[in-house]
Amino acid sequence: MTASTRPSSSIVMSRVLLWGAVLAGGIAVVAAPLGYAVAGVPGLVGGLLGAAMGLVFMGATALSILVANRFASSDAYPAVFLGVVMGGWLVKLVLFLIVTVLLRDQPWLEPSVLGLTLIVVVVGSLVVDVLVTVKGRMPAVTDLPPSRRID
């Protein structure tokens, strides 16, 4: 590998992040008024918070792959990749648990709206991931000559 080569998945991961954010924004726009109609201001907060949490926690994996790919030219790339992606995953789940404990029994939050919005964002971002990957037109080989490199 040459020093300037990045794995071709970086483009797809950037697109996954972008469309994931668009999806979460769209779901927040729908979920917040629905939550407000069902449970008042706590429902509104639940809808917004659920969409934000879904975006952060589904986007973190794509982000960690992007960060790990910055070390593609390093000899220790497989180890760095494993450390960053798996370490990021572990930190993310621990953060998720801490947030869950902190948000427990808060009077300004309707937890059912938050949970339902979160599940909708998670399932929706799976669909986005698959669509972006299928339409990604990713080159089969990472080491393209500089003239044909697209990232």
Partner: protein
């Protein structure tokens, strides 16, 4: 013969539930990432493709873990 309490457990059974919910995704993500590293070691030039496939695999598996925790908000209330 009178019975006495020799051991007592306190806490929330939901903790056990989280542990159970974490086992499946942990095994799944471990296999997915491990196989990707294996594939990258065999054919480094395919790392981009393998990573994208791995990302889809991780996304589907971790969705289980996230939904598992999200159910706390729905059923815990």
């Amino acid at each position: 013969m009178d019975t006495t309490v020799v051991a007592e457990l306190t806490g929330n059974i939901a903790t056990v539930g989280y542990g159970l919910a974490a086992i499946g995704p942990a095994i799944g993500v471990g296999i997915v990432v491990g196989r990707t590293i294996e594939g990258t070691a065999r054919q480094p030039e395919l790392s981009g493709r393998l990573q994208t496939l791995m990302y889809i695999g991780i996304a589907f598996t971790e969705a289980l873990a996230l939904i598992g925790i999200a159910t706390y908000y729905i059923f815990g209330a």
